[in-house]
Amino acid sequence: MAVATAPDRKGIGGSIRRIEDARLLSGRSTFIADIGRPGIWEVAFLRSPVAHANLVHLEKPAGAEDRVFFLADLGAILPIRADSQAPGFRRSDYPAIADGKVRFVGEPIAICLGRTRGEAEDLAQAVLVDYDELPAVADIAQSRNPDLPPIHPGWSENVFLESRVDVGDVDAARAAAALSLTRRYRMNRQAIVSLEGRGVVTYRDERTGELVVYSSTQFPHVIRTALAECLGMKERELRVVAPEVGGSFGVKNNLNPEELALAALTRRTGKALRWVEDRREHLIASAHAREHRYEVTVHADGEGRVLGLEATIEVDAGAYSVWPWTAPMEAGMAIGFLPGPYAITSYRATALTCASNKSPLGPYRGVGRPGACFAIERTMDEIAAALGLDPVEVRLRNYVRPDQFPWKSAGGKTYDIGDYGASARAARDMIRPERVAALRQEHAGSDWRIGIGYATYLEQTAHGTAEWVQRGLPVVFGYEQAEIHMTADGMLVMDVPIQNHGQGLETTLAQVAHDELGIDPAQVVVRHGDTSLAPYGMGTFASRSMVMSGGAVGRACEALAAKIRKIGAHLLQVTEENVRLKDGEVVAAGGASVPLAEIAMAAYLHPERLPDTVEPGLSVIASYRTARDTGAWSYGTHAVLVAVDTGTGLVEILDYAIAHDCGTIVNPMIVDGQMMGGLAQGIGTALYEEMPYSEDGQPLASTFMDYLVPGAPEVPRARIEHLSIPSPITRYGIKGMGEGGAIPPPAAICNAVNDALRPLGAAIDETPLTPDRIIRALMAPQAGEAGA
């Protein structure tokens, strides 16, 4: 069912090479660290070495008073306030730099300036700080401990929010069930780890009167709005530019205190400043991700059909609510997504968003869903194992069927369209479970055990207005704009407020333009990430840009095409109905043609050649929203074959298969790349990445020597099949797909490892599945009994 793509296709569906790669691969582009200004100062932040303390006394080093700045030195500045509208939400104000108290290791306390970063760091070490230490809240289990101090003033317990869902009749389900199972799952905290860390350059542009903020961010317009609010400035006094951004995955999708601090200091002093995050800062002080715990009880009939689902979900959101997502986002996503692709109608769950003295939790590829997918997909396998059924068969009995769409889920979402069973069958066909018996035979008598695992995921993408309103965020991201211009020599320049940080959007948006205008993608320039270039827009996150910006570009191009056809028809002396756009020309039915360059020349330099009804110029600004607000739902099934060394606990991935549906595919090669990148991160969550904290709130992985990301040897080349059912609610039928690859790997790999260990009576339900944990699982008492 793979998409048929003609090799020479340049528009939607063509695997054309990425336009942006030449500059990236040859190292010619400009990242934050490449941006200088005359007289620029390098910034080092003095960061808290303790998890929880009142700052009793701060003192600048003698002689360096003009190069060290505390909060009081920054002028009028509001803290970052990310309030959820959910009733019962507890507020946390996040100051640009510490306001008398520090709440996690790594929180900025002072800005220190030097001519070199080294000089600034030395200065930071010379600042005197007197900490009055408080007990730290370092674990979810402590959030309701009355003996620990509140992290924020006025809090009665260290919990941001508790929310509940209760639909259908869970008690009836329990009574009717042939099987009720309870399982506990943990997905531990991790860092996000973009190749390029965060970074900010600020300076004053005296000519325009703007405070210019270069930031390695995913959403410059939104950052401008937020900065204006916190600084009490007009938006027109601020320009925010995201230069080349070296990966982000969500970690650059928050308003950072560092952005606010540098902007405020430049406003106050006029100094040009540059802060380039180092890896230690990135690991300890950038937003973290995951840290979910679940207790799931499922009620099923004798055939494995789920009758009801109960869950308690706990998430450690860290010390502050991040803007604009708010602290309860993770738990909110988890509770909404736990029913997954299954037609579950009775569902009762509680989601607790705990606060702790750890770095705040922010969005990371998959947001909430990797945890929810882990919990529900592990549970489906447990049902299968308990009833002696095939795990794919159990899933097929429970999926929402193709004739049930649109499906209103027990988690409060509306699924638009899909064939989940088709993805599971396709993944199963690729992984070929029938070979497992032979493999087990082959390794009999050795320490190696073979296992196979599946996981199906849903990826809500391009969420519309209603979804964001429902989530109660401070900003509603329901649309996107694009502004396009044809130049006087017939090239197309598209200014979009999204940000391309590795997704290939400069290429895929040009492919959309090709379909609308017949223009060669090589003749299209996509500019992004600059509030001075593009109209207002929301940026790149939540797998939205291809749908939303693609839609806006499509609408703008469609309007421009109409104008071009009018001019072309006039120049060719035929009626408008008789011309079409093809290969960079307007072509008449009879074959006569006029190139775009000639049309652009007429539109700009020879208005005398234009028909009376057409205005000069070839510019269009358009905005786009999806036909319905539910989001476009991608989904898929991952299947993995593993070998577990029961001597050492090491897991080796022998084969990996993905069958997924992301609707119409704009560029299959780029989609494959996104899948592989997501998979690499999913494997990181499953097997390697963990950000542990000590009991007193010290992060224990602050370099790459301790924080392990998978490298090339750990990531197999997956086989990928595209199913491609177009979305009914988006232009072109596109569904977003940037996150999907990262969602199910922890679930699929953990299912496979458990499949391998089950004959030994061992079970493991915590990520990362380190060899140490696997050996412990093998040595647990129940494992010994079953193995004996």
Binding site: E121, G711, P771, D772
Partner: protein, 288 residues
Amino acid sequence: MTGFEIVEPESLEEAFRLLDPEDPAVRPIGGGTALMLMMKAQIYKPERLVSLRRLDGRFSGIDIAADGSGFRIGAMTTFSMLEHSPAIRRHLPVIAQTMKTLANVRVRNVASVGGNLAHADPHLDLPPVWVALGARAVVVGPRGERTIPVEAIFEGYYETSLANDELIAELEVPVRAGWDALYVKVTTRAAHDWPALGLAVSAELEGRRIRDLRLVLSAAVDKPTRLAAAEAVLRGAEIGPATLRAAGEAAVAETEIESDSRGSAAYKQHLLRVHLGRAIEALAAKRV
């Protein structure tokens, strides 16, 4: 990073004058790969670094004795030179094998044999291998020269028996006919991780009987450590599951292994048992 000077003496006498037995802010520098990391992390703040780059003579070169009985390796020999030396590949293949998973080309091009030993980080791969091979280090200082077994360099975590103004000048490595060696780098997470334990084995086998052997554990302990009790179990014994299990238990009993991010103590003890057995089996398999 505060300023410091780097000097490049051309003679040993000059080097000793520039070094300072009392001042920890003065240190020799070989390839600089370890020192630079500590300086960037502000763990080490030097005032003067004394480069050994221009001290040729005994500090450089890889020479094999005329009778083939051993090597002399200058302390400033880089890992790449070792890795690509045909003589080393032929007579000490375990060195080339170890290089395959040691750091990366850029580090191997500059990291030096002497700096690697003097750094005394127990996670490093080569030190246990040198110990297993029975290598000796020639240490020179203003008060004279001494030759010590490599294991005698290490006193603990990042601690050595070298005085501040003493330098490792060269290594003497015997080539023993009939002996074979193997190094096992046990990473428990990604391949580029530091090892949870390193295990170097050299042995003289006769079929499946072990005539003699040296077993060295690193990474899981605070310095490369001979496993004398485990050696005693295996010396003269026939390789079999029971003997290997007994050797593993002896190894666990004679070492003090601590927990860290690469695994709990119990887990690393478990790994030691498993990998000791597998290493001996692998060595035996190589022989046939």
